[in-house]
């Protein structure tokens, strides 16, 4: 009985890690995008390379989490509904087709934030707990 409870709790924790992430757990950040708020669907579209330019004609530079980042799998599930390997495969193929410029992969929330701060047009996603100047935060409507 105890064993079954332990297994159930582990399963729930595991699935909550993989499936329990929501946008409220994260902050979408951007630099000089001319955009202050986006819907969840729009956020996903930007991270999937569906938009080439922001409204202010800056190119969209997508920043993703590398496999070194603890957020990699969670962000992959949240945005792409797949694994981190699936995300890399998706982007590799998109770039190879010539339909998008390559994304940048960063190893941590801090690296994502640092890159976004110094790169106009960049968009990234970090944990909500990670502190970030408010001018970079894009609200999710």
């Amino acid at each position: 009985m105890v064993f079954r409870i332990v297994i159930l709790v582990q399963f729930l924790v595991f699935t909550s890690i993989l499936f329990g992430q929501t946008f409220s757990d994260y902050k979408v950040i951007g630099n000089t995008t001319g955009v202050t708020e986006l819907t969840q669907a729009q956020v996903k579209s930007y991270f999937k390379g569906k938009y080439t330019l922001w409204g202010n004609n800056k190119s969209v530079k997508v920043v993703l989490h590398s496999s070194e980042s603890p957020q990699a799998e969670k962000v992959a599930k949240l945005i792409f509904n797949t694994t981190h390997t699936g995300v890399k495969k998706y982007w590799l193929s998109l770039v190879f087709q010539g339909r998008a410029n390559p994304p940048v992969y960063c190893d941590s929330d801090l690296e994502v934030l640092t890159y976004v701060k110094k790169t106009p047009g960049a968009i990234g996603i970090i944990k909500d707990e990670t502190s970030c100047p408010s001018q970079y935060v894009i609200q999710i409507k």
Binding site: S45, K48, K50, Y51, T52, L53, N57, K58, S59, T82, T83, T85, G86, K88, K89, L92, S93, V95, F96, Q97, G98, R99, N101, P102, V104, T119, G121
Partner: protein, 357 residues
Amino acid sequence: MRHSFFIIFIFCCGYSFSQREKVVVNGYGHMNYNYNNDLNKTADPTLSYFELGEHDLFVNSYFNDRISFLGEFVVRYTKGTPTYFSASIERARLKFDYYKNHSIIAGKIHTPINYWNDVYHHGRVFFPSIDRPTAFSYLVPLHNLGLQFQGQNLGKWNFGYDVVIGNGISATDASDDNLSPATTVAFHIKPTDNWRIGASYFYDYLSDASVTGAHSGHSTAPSHIHGDKYKGNLNYHLISQSIAYFGDKHEFLNEFSYNITHTDTLGYANNFSNYTYYGYRIKEKHVPYAIVDLLSIAENDLFTYHYDIMRLWLGYRHEFSETLNVKAQVGYSTNFLNSSHSSTNSIDFKVQFAYGF
């Protein structure tokens, strides 16, 4: 001195970081094992050999917010050359994003004629199976050198369009033998991320159909009687349609092409091809699949020449990662038209390691 080294070190880090952003270089390659048993032959019917495949250097760079460069340079085995290898520029193009998701592209591209040519190019690691569809060796004008107007992810259905005006099938990368450019018009929709449904039309006028330039299919057989190719003029129309679905479990691709060639000598020749692929992902990395690949070239075709073949394949793909996979296929090839004048009857077994880096 220590101060100088520190400055140089910081510079190199910054330089390499900015290089990492602006210039991305990837490589792709593959190697095969091939086994073929020609059931029509009584003497020496079997071939068995390893093959070093194409190796592909892929470069992507952007100059500013709106202008980027893409290059794909391939080295492949070529008989009769001093090193047995030759290099080619498969793609080299500048892209200008002039307004939202609309772009103008100049350079050498893969003709956006169907899903396969537009998505997979020369990267075997992206192929769901080992080889391209048979039509690529006969009907499909693989490359185009010219100007492309492209739009993508437009509207609710992610509508995309491509209009290409460029050198024709018989052209080289430095000249064209006639004033008539080749024209491609293609469009597609992606109702969801996993779907892509598209169609295209390609037209070219060849003033000398015997000249197979840099942009034809990779194989056009000579005339059966004399080995001389038809040297007259020819109108080439190609209509293609594709449906692609690549989801978590199911993978499906169907590409149909209808080709009409017209000569004053033999009139209209009607050719077609159809490629159907289905794969089922039984676990994250394991995908068994099946293929039916048909090609029919009419008797009176004077560009590709009369041929028909049906290839049936069963295969398995194991994905070690997004940049390494192994595929194995067993297949049977035969004619499927009663009027066929060529006789094909063979069994094949192939294994491929495809990788990227």
